[in-house]
């Protein structure tokens, strides 16, 4: 909105929360790298916190750039950007070296970028653009559904092929955006049902599960004996469920990589790794580190497990364990509170958009951040298998900070100009 002095009104709540998170991330990265006796300053470029500061400063310029560019530019460029990212993802698949079982870095001279990070907002823009095009809004049409799923699915597939299951999962979460825009909730229900079935089949023996499902099916059949459609539905669901249960083994053995399979198993069955030194080492130590923080935490730079390097990847994916240890439950409460505030505000902002493009994009931003947050925290407290996805704005890393920043500020730019857009 243009104010009387000619500037635009950006949403300061979001910006404040953003910088609070970035700041918490920065000092936590310092705490995670800090070792007693080594007198590195938080600004030292020899350690992660100093480098993160560099990323933060550069991201300020990026923010300025994003805000200076005409808001219509993003809609215009969306498809081009999308194609560029797809190309980059393909290049990664062809050229990138494998690091930790995943190919995700593209090296151009000294610079290293991770195209999958940028794919998130590129796909988001493309999705928003497509859904705001006349004739594509009705999501009950199969054609529209398929195209939307293709827009999401293509980068997701390419990222999955890189071996980065975590990032790919975030794309799947974009279904929430489609749900908001009117997609039938049935796919969501089916997804939820299959997830529950998957976990249950890992926890209990198949034969027991079959008996339970058969009993439920028989009861339902008994109830719907007169209604043919309902009867058919029950039978179809039952048969497909059985098929799914017996394909869990196949998924575990042939679809998941061995380390992924182990991580999933370790979560439901601690006896897979009783000593906590194998696959569940990271989760176990992360849980212990967070749990040892108590109510008020041990204090800044006082985290004994953090300093003892007990949690691998602590300044990146497991940055939350530092916060949990040094600031305790109160610190966790503040952090979770900040994120939930951000998410509520994003939904609110999305809902107040006049254009479908801006609203859809707003939901993309919400979904991407929300899923990163959810999976990341769930992973650090042992509710989800270890998959390498960062905590937005906090985890160490330039690509991740930049891409989340761009993702967010494009939306803030759109939001600031929402009054200039004619409803389409």
């Amino acid at each position: 909105m243009r104010k009387s002095d000619g500037t635009y009104q950006y949403d300061w709540i979001t910006i404040t929360v953003y910088y609070a998170l970035v700041f918490i991330g920065w000092i936590s990265i310092y705490a995670a790298t800090y070792t007693e006796g080594e007198s590195y300053s938080i600004f030292s470029l020899d350690i992660n916190s100093g480098r993160q500061l560099l990323w933060i400063i550069t991201s300020i310029f990026i923010v300025l750039a994003v805000l200076l560019i005409d808001f219509r530019f993003y809609e215009t460029i969306s498809y081009i950007l999308y194609i560029a990212v797809i190309v980059a993802l393909l290049l990664v698949l062809i050229f990138a070296r494998e690091v930790d079982g995943a190919k995700s870095w593209l090296e151009i001279g000294p610079a290293k970028i991770q195209p999958s990070e940028f794919a998130k907002f590129a796909a988001g823009l493309a999705l928003a653009r497509y859904m705001s095009t006349a004739g594509s809004k009705d999501l009950s049409k199969t054609k529209n559904q398929l195209i939307n799923i293709a827009i999401i699915g293509l980068p997701a597939l390419l990222i999955l092929l890189q071996g980065d299951a975590g990032s790919a999962l975030v794309f799947v979460a974009l279904i929430i955006v489609l749900y908001r825009e009117g997609l039938s909730p049935i796919p969501l229900y089916i997804g939820l049902y299959l997830a529950v079935l998957f976990i249950t089949s890992l926890l209990v023996k198949n034969i027991i599960l079959v008996i339970v499902l058969s009993t439920i099916a028989l009861v339902l059949i008994g109830l719907s004996i007169r209604k043919v459609r309902q009867l058919l539905l029950v039978i179809v669901v039952f048969v497909m469920s059985l098929g799914f249960i017996f394909s869990v083994d196949f998924i575990m053995k042939d679809v998941l990589k061995p380390h992924q399979r182990q991580r999933v198993l370790a979560l439901v069955d601690p006896s897979v790794d009783p000593s906590g030194k194998g696959v569940s080492y990271q989760t176990t130590n992360s849980k212990i580190t967070i749990g040892s923080g108590g109510l008020a935490g041990k204090g800044f730079l006082q985290g004994s497990l953090t300093q003892g390097d007990f949690v691998p990847a602590q300044s990146t994916d497991f940055i939350f364990s530092t916060i949990g240890e040094e600031y305790g439950w109160i610190g966790s409460l503040i952090l979770v509170g900040l994120f939930i505030t951000l998410f509520f505000r994003l939904i609110q902002l999305a809902e107040r958009q006049k254009s479908t493009f801006a609203r859809v994009y707003g939901y993309v931003v919400f979904t991407v951040l929300f899923f990163h947050f959810t999976l990341n925290i769930a992973m650090t407290i042992g509710l989800f298998p270890v998959i390498g996805i960062p905590l937005p704005f906090l985890s160490y890393g330039g690509s991740s900070l930049w891409s989340f920043t761009i993702l967010l500020f494009i939306f803030l730019k759109l939001d600031a100009h929402r009054m200039q857009i004619l409803q389409r």
Partner: protein
């Protein structure tokens, strides 16, 4: 459009947030498991071993002290690219030993590579150690025994065994700790060991120390162990040990007025230094395998028949029972039992002096079989029961409460024993008569006989023999060593027995033990046993009035009591009473003669 779905999205977001906060509340605030786990992972407790207490003799001569030694430690990951051949050379180990030791070492934690280098060995390798990264020395101490003496009294230190660890109800020890085994080191372990200190250190995920934990507020300082003083007179001890060189046997000398053990010899013995240091296990198996059993603590554990020294007890019991008077002359025609004393009439003093077996055969018969009924089977039961109780008051057949573990009670035969041997009520005096002269079923330890010397010297009581003089700063010993044990014999009965013992030295079989100006009382034993030549035994005290020392000695298979045992005992008594020896010829006699 689809506005109601916004509510679903809001709710879903809120549910995720609340779920996380609940879960976090459980692991951070409710469940203590994670804190405990965190502490065990991130805090290392480093034990500071206290200085073990020193051991002194009664005259403040140091018997046991701690000598610095050096454990050569290695951090394997840092010990790379060294010249192993040269390294093995300076440590005088083979390449195989090197490989074996290094393979046991931990990658990044300091591990023990070579145990207990002495000061000299350390000095030799110290300069060269700089060429071997990853190796360093950690100081510790080992026990040293400047007198190379009294191994059986002192005991030794060794790594705690699995069994001891399991039995450690106080939870003080942990694996790898050293603990006193046998003797004083074991008995006074608690006083000597002091109190361990613990320092808490932060460690990282590889176990490396990264700094202090909790600003040292949780740390405890180690408290050095108490020094203890023994009742032993090391000069006397060493003299006695020297007299026993080349002989098998034992000697115990006690201060009668207190029960303090002045010397306690077990021969053969070994240099206690052999059990201290890194060759412990080799030396232990060598000494343990010795056919003369140097590890067998003879003064406390060896059971011998008392032989003629038992006649003192028999006299006292008979007098107390009133079955004989000192003046009664009893005729001995050598018909009842083998005897070296000539045929004739014996009063008690003469019987002791000449060690008349037949006299004591008759006297003991009166004690056992009082002919109250016409059935000597019945009478003997009654008599023996009473007699056994009397003898036990002399500290025989019961464990003396000495502060060194393993003392044997010996055997005083009782009714039950003879019932087992002969059948219930199928024995009478004639079956047990050899006990009258200290042979047969009765066995005693040298300690018990020295205690007999002490109670005779005291005319009727003894303090339990003990080795502790004082613990730490306090001049206190356990209460039990201050209790007077009454033997239950009236004072008047001692004089004739002591007179007899005095005459043994002046006129009888113990003449070699006579010291010109010191009135010694004693009784020799020539102990028949199943192992060949008789054991030579002696029990006595001196001087006769205000006795300073009571003594008992056994020299195995050395023949008559009047020779080896009496000579050694006499020399030890003179050494203690006078402080010097006036009879070099007797010393020569003992040194040169192996009495076999």
């Amino acid at each position: 459009m689809f506005k109601q779905r916004v509510i679903v999205i809001y709710s879903f977001t809120a549910i995720v947030g609340i779920t996380f906060l609940i879960r976090l509340f459980i692991i951070q605030v409710v469940d203590d498991k994670y804190k405990t786990e965190a502490d065990t992972r991130s805090i290392a407790s480093i034990v500071e071993y206290p200085y073990r207490g020193l051991i002194y003799d009664r005259n403040d001569q140091i018997l046991v002290y701690n000598e610095p030694a050096y454990d050569l430690m290695v951090i394997k990951s840092q010990a790379k690219g060294i010249d192993t051949t040269a390294f093995c050379d300076i440590l005088s180990i083979t390449r195989e030993e090197y490989m074996q030791k290094i393979s046991k070492a931990h990658q990044v934690k300091p591990s023990l590579f070579f145990e207990m280098l002495s000061n000299e060995e350390f000095a030799n390798i110290q300069d060269q150690l700089i060429n071997y990264p990853g190796y360093f020395v950690a100081p510790r101490t080992v026990r040293k025994y400047p007198f190379q003496s009294m191994a059986n009294v002192l005991g030794y230190l060794a790594e705690i065994s699995k069994r001891q660890l399991q039995n450690d109800t106080t939870d003080y020890y942990s694996q790898g700790d050293y603990v006193g085994i046998n003797g004083v080191e074991s008995e006074y372990e608690k006083a000597l060991r002091g109190k361990r200190g613990v320092r808490h250190k932060k460690v990282n995920n590889r176990g490396l120390i990264t700094g202090a934990f909790g600003e040292g507020l949780l740390d405890t300082l180690s408290v050095p162990g108490d020094n203890i003083k023994l009742t032993i007179d090391i000069e006397l001890q060493q003299y006695a040990e020297k007299l026993f060189e080349g002989k098998v046997g034992s000697l115990v000398a006690i201060e009668p007025a207190t029960g303090e053990i002045l010397a306690m010899v077990s021969s053969p013995s070994y240099d206690p230094n052999l059990f201290s240091g890194r060759n412990f296990s080799d030396n232990f198996s060598m000494i343990n395998g010795d056919s003369l059993k140097p590890l067998f603590n003879r003064p406390l554990r060896a059971g011998y028949p008392p032989g003629s020294m038992f006649k003192t007890i028999q006299s006292l019991i008979a007098l107390q029972e009133g079955v004989v008077t000192p003046e009664e002359r009893i005729y001995s025609d050598k018909s009842l039992i083998g005897d070296l004393a000539p045929i004739g009439y014996y009063d008690m003093e003469l019987a002791i002096q000449k060690s008349s077996n037949n006299y004591f055969y008759k006297v003991f018969r009166r004690v056992i079989d009082n002919r109250a009924t016409n059935n000597s089977f019945v009478d003997s039961r009654v008599g023996l029961k009473k007699w056994t109780e009397s003898v036990k008051k002399f500290g025989l057949g019961v464990k003396l409460d000495i502060d060194i573990s393993g003392a044997s009670p010996g055997i005083v035969p009782d009714v039950a024993r003879y019932d087992r041997l002969y059948g219930k009520s199928r024995w009478k005096y004639s079956n047990i008569a050899s006990v009258s002269i200290g042979q047969g079923e009765v066995t005693v330890t040298p300690l018990q006989m020295a205690n007999l010397g002490a109670l005779l010297a005291n005319r009727g009581y003894f303090f339990s023999p003990h080795i502790i003089k004082s613990i730490g700063e306090k001049n206190e010993i356990p209460e039990k060593y201050l209790i007077k044990n009454d033997v239950g014999i009236d004072l008047v009965h001692y004089e004739p027995v002591i007179e007899g013992m005095s005459r043994v030295i002046k006129l009888g079989s113990g003449r070699r033990a006579n010291i010109a100006d010191i009135d010694i009382c004693g009784k020799t034993s020539t102990v028949q046993n199943g192992t060949g030549q008789d054991h030579s035994g002696f029990m006595g005290f001196g001087p006769r009035e205000s006795p300073k020392i009571a003594i008992a000695a056994y020299v195995e298979n050395a023949g008559q009591g009047g020779r080896a045992a009496a000579s050694i005992s006499s020399l030890v008594m003179e050494k203690y009473i006078r402080g010097s020896i006036t009879r070099p010829w007797l010393e020569e006699y003992v040194y040169k003669n192996d009495f076999n």
